[in-house]
Amino acid sequence: MDGTTAALVSAVFFASFVEFVEAFTIVLAMGVTRGWRSAITGTVAALIALTAFTAVLGVAISTWLSESLLQLTIGTLLLIFGLQWLRKACLRASGLKALHDEDAEFAEQTEAAREADRTTYAGIDLFGFMVSFKGVFLEGVEVVFIVVTFGLSADALGMAVAGAVVAGVIVIALGVALRKPLSRIPENTLKYGVGVMLASFGTYWALEGVGYFRDGEESLHWPGGKVALIVLVAGWFAVTRLVIAGLGRSRTSAPTEAAA
């Protein structure tokens, strides 16, 4: 495994890990309040839908897009996702946005679940099923995008899938062992790190893929080739630290935006 693939697998692993932690909190809340049968059925249904979505997305983008258009499409999406994660990380680090807290999320979900009416179908509580399905599917779609885009761009789809699967297995194992929200995991720090990785790979591929508009659709070439990725990671880290330092200096008594 070369350095780029190792970085890619790490990024996929940590991105998947934080998304699975969030999905686990929702499923746990539904399980303890609405019953495990509906929570697990909703989770399994979402996993089946995600598997189908992964297959369609993977085949579609690898079959229909030329190399440079693939880089441009994938890079643009990763760059947008990465900058969204980094924006939240900067606002959180400077105290302008509340830190994501799994205990608070769990309390909110269980309260809503206790107040909801009970409607059952074939012995399954529909509220618990739908909330579990939506939670796992929505968090999972982002994982699927990251796995498919990273995997196809670096021609290492198997490794990317393995990174996500290992993350999922670890989260489930920890969740089953602890039987409570995984709030001690440094989720906000992990999200910051993943944001830097997504923004770096996104910048690299999106700008490379702009070559699609040239005659011959030849990708643009980075100075130093893949070594430029290391410079991009350092660059995005430095920019975010400068932004956070600047916000810290200018902050007075700002209201804190709710976490998302």
């Binding site: 900058l83 302008l96 946005k97």
Partner: protein
Amino acid sequence: MRFLKAFGLFWYDFVIGDDWKIAAYVVVTLALVAVLAVNDVLSDGATVIVGTAVTMAFFALGVRYDARRAQR
């Protein structure tokens, strides 16, 4: 119709997220880089460096703008 609206909203929320400015400046930056690349204004290396610098500058300004709005 309701399904189409929900489908569209899901993808808008998924790609654009809660800050539309990010998608907007990424597209503007890539359009600028495309103009430079198509017209061979700079070498490939210089073009991607300019693109990176512009993206980073937009990001820093965008977050600063959001922070100022939050402080009001």
